[in-house]
Symmetry: C2
Amino acid sequence: MATISDVAAMAGVSTATVSRALNGKSTVDPELVARVVAAADDLGYRPNGPARSLRKQETAVLALIISDVENPFFTAMARGVEDVAHAAGYSVVLCNSDDEPDKEREYLDVALQERVAGVLLSPTGRGDSAELLRVHDTPVVAVDRPLPGWGSDAVLVDSRLAAKQATLHLAHQGYRRLGCVTGPSGVPTADERLAGFRDGLRVAKLRSSSALVRRTEFKAAGARRAAHALLTADEPPDGLLVANNSMAIGVLETLADLGLRAGRDVGVVAFDDAPWASLVDPPLSVVAQPAYDVGAVGAQLLLRRIGDENPDGNSSTTTLSAHLVARASTSHT
Amino acid sequence: MATISDVAAMAGVSTATVSRALNGKSTVDPELVARVVAAADDLGYRPNGPARSLRKQETAVLALIISDVENPFFTAMARGVEDVAHAAGYSVVLCNSDDEPDKEREYLDVALQERVAGVLLSPTGRGDSAELLRVHDTPVVAVDRPLPGWGSDAVLVDSRLAAKQATLHLAHQGYRRLGCVTGPSGVPTADERLAGFRDGLRVAKLRSSSALVRRTEFKAAGARRAAHALLTADEPPDGLLVANNSMAIGVLETLADLGLRAGRDVGVVAFDDAPWASLVDPPLSVVAQPAYDVGAVGAQLLLRRIGDENPDGNSSTTTLSAHLVARASTSHT
DNA sequence: TTGTAGGCGTTATCAT
DNA sequence: ATGATAACGCCTACAA
């Protein structure tokens, strides 16, 4: 592949001039610029990224580490990140931690090795990621979930409040024995949504029973098992708060298997408004999170840090709010 | 950030020894290895990726360029790529072309600059991407869509045949005026699915009317408009083949808006079996594509090329097949 | 305005 | 088995 020297040779100038010409630096004779550009074009020259990174000690790449590419919440977030990053000339590397601390760690290692300019991380909540990042003083912003034990910038959604509201909504609609299907203990969003659920129960003066709470991985399969156990128990819940979109699928499948109908038999609210939520029967009530904005704001914050205005300035936490979209799955009629 | 020299100094050896020790090269005194590892660990040393890439003239990164991260087909494919790449020690950079040739081109540029080891590309079908890649002789494999005008490896799905079968299925179920909502002209999968649709019409001896075909971007919004136009026309179709999953959402929304019921009023089959397809009312008949496998096989092919066994060996085209999953949306009862 | 030269951090070659 | 050293491709003082 053509190098800068090849271009220099062909244009009859020094490599320094080529570099300057191609990077629009200072004043270079327009005539030479033309020759250089022509030569570069001719050779299909493309600057060597690694070499440039090495020399400049910086890259134009951001890493975005999320726990599930197949979850619409995260893909929407990814778009937000992408759009902002792209506009600023940065590329985004998307990595899947699968909510496994080991994989998260591994990708963090790669990101650090590749000397990415910054990291957007949705931490599993367990593990020592924070430590790792601080040591290498790579700018980070936590998205969707806080980075435990360290004051990094963070963009979160107030899902505790949203969960509380969703729970109250269930109560107002007349559901009395409320259950909750949430994510693994230790995952902040899972814990918060459960806390919000309990807040709601308290305000609505409903009994809180740990038998009606199930924790499992944030996936459809886990939720299917959890919902089955819950709904076939002696005293099954008549209302359910489901902590994310993928889980909602598992829960709805289970309802169908058991011949139960959402709304009529069991009130259901789930986190995340996926495009299909209004198409299922009955349409699913959801807590709509501003996923795109979480990503966009996160990227802005990160770019600002990278811009160095504030190497270690006070860390900020932005909390966006979610809103309830009530549909037929929380209505008896 | 600590460099190899820092480690060397601390361990009291040369940088060469550190490099060898850390890379498990040849024979290094075990005692020294221990000292080196300890020092590296102590300093939180992490090899500099760019420097290493520059020196070795190779990276352990694969680029995957797709047209829509929010489309479950592509995310499933991404997982296939990821799993295979990861197992082989490669990272995957996910890029979104949005089906815009310009963006595709841009990401290709970045990939080339960063000297990725290989590219998995789902080409928009227009544009000169193939050219670009050949010039820089970076290994490529086309996934989901062929790379026009150039014999690269490719992993495709026989969507023409699948579309034909889906169309015949509609016909067998008694639908007579069949319509098709497909993607933009020039996008191979969009064209193929339409061709398959026409194949089916011919075999079923049904009339083919261009008034019943609509092309639009592969997104829900476009499909919504297309479906609306189709269904409010003078002679609306009574059966619809929808070319992808996102479009299916638009079509189903339109049906709901118009008070039409899938199955009873209009038979509907769509490409891609999303997790929610069986939850909508009525459950959606689909053409299930082996998305994960497309990605996995594509990655394997790419790694093989990179492995250099066959720098320019004959290009292979792997065609996987899709299968119809009939549900209630194609049944009058 | 242009050219020369040094160095970013690694790895690989060549001595020792 | 280990160490000095050159080179990967680029950018940027510094010199001219």
